[in-house]
Symmetry: C2
Subunit: 215 residues, 2 copies
């Protein structure tokens, strides 16, 4: 086990959730290797998803020229060019068509029988194929939220910072980056090394946001 | 620091994300105190949200009678009655109206000036107030996904298990639990002590779900 891996494994869960903050100023000299970005995506996608369909897709923008193209689309927020990468989290409306592959992998790993896999795939693909578009999109947005949160925590555990961005022109993003119509943009996440720490923010008291048993 | 707190803080981030699995069988004899559920919600809501509006709300169903009422609404999935609690994660369409309070708390904590708080609140409340309903709901679903993921990890770090549930009749949930129309149901999360471990599941290879720089 490398020292780096050992260090990563020792990061406590509690410190990660308490120290994660939205960071808007990044050290532009720090890049993150393609391999490490892949490792981070891999860890993020341990998140659960509706029927384990994993409809999330990631357009990872790290090339300086492409980040410049993204800048005006994200209303000139500097983190877009200063962070090591910006990840456009997308939901794939045809993601359910990959369920057969997901189940084959599960059969190969001994997690399910071939019979269960084939019945489950057939039934679920049929259900998703007949969902109204609006219902399907809701699932993509929720699952996209799940994986985005886990990604931001994974990055923090590795010593990076992130900021989730809803402020961008989705139509321009789709046009400029030639995103096929099957993909729904969910959010942008900038990731890199903080140049200055994120501002602390307040939270509503638990009493304001919880209801017990019924309204 | 109590031994329990110390133990919790030593849980490594890596083990939490690797060991979290969707668990469908719970020990019905294990309950979770209201205080601990509140602590878990508090930790979960350290998650980020669009404009820090924190539009998530939580209907926590732990009363045995209410869990029985929920059972048919969730298509008789036994975890609804066997888990210690089921949390209906809701998005509040009027959540942005609490931004004034959120900013007041931030001013009191010294995180922002009064001037910034008042300008920011006025501008943001105006923007959200004029968003098309469909756009507002998208934000609620994404933010709901973020907080749900962090909740599931928080539970795991405390030795509990969870399962996110999309399989329920949202209209019946609204009717039976008298959920006001301003709240959008996002998902149910059962939380408790596992009676048997969750099944491992497969993930798509990173290569299948990532795109680099452009399509």
């Amino acid at each position: 086990m490398s020292l780096e891996t050992e260090a990563k494994q020792q990061v406590s869960f509690d410190s990660v959730i308490r120290e994660r903050r939205s960071v808007r100023h990044y050290d532009p000299s720090v890049s993150i290797s393609e391999q490490e970005l892949k490792d981070m995506i891999k860890e993020a996608t341990l998140a659960p998803s509706s029927n384990n369909i994993q409809p999330w897709r990631f357009l990872i923008i790290q090339d300086p020229e492409q980040k410049q193209r993204l800048l005006p689309i994200a209303f000139n927020q500097q983190q877009v060019v200063e962070a090591a990468a910006v990840i456009a989290v997308l939901g794939d409306k045809e993601g359910y068509k990959q369920l057969g592959k997901i189940c084959r992998l599960a059969v190969e790993a001994g997690y399910m029988t071939e019979e269960f896999a084939s019945q489950y795939t057939e039934r679920t693909v049929k259900t998703y194929g007949s969902l109204p578009e609006e219902r399907l999109e809701r699932i993509l947005l929720i699952d996209g939220g799940l994986v985005s949160m886990q990604f931001m925590l994974v990055a923090k555990a590795r010593g990076y910072d992130t900021v989730p961005m809803g402020g961008y022109d989705a139509q321009k993003l789709i046009a400029e980056f030639r995103i096929p119509s099957r993909y729904v943009p969910i959010m942008l996440i900038a990731v890199g090394k903080a140049a200055s720490p994120g501002r602390p923010t307040s939270r509503l008291p638990v009493e304001d946001i919880t209801f017990w048993n019924t309204f």
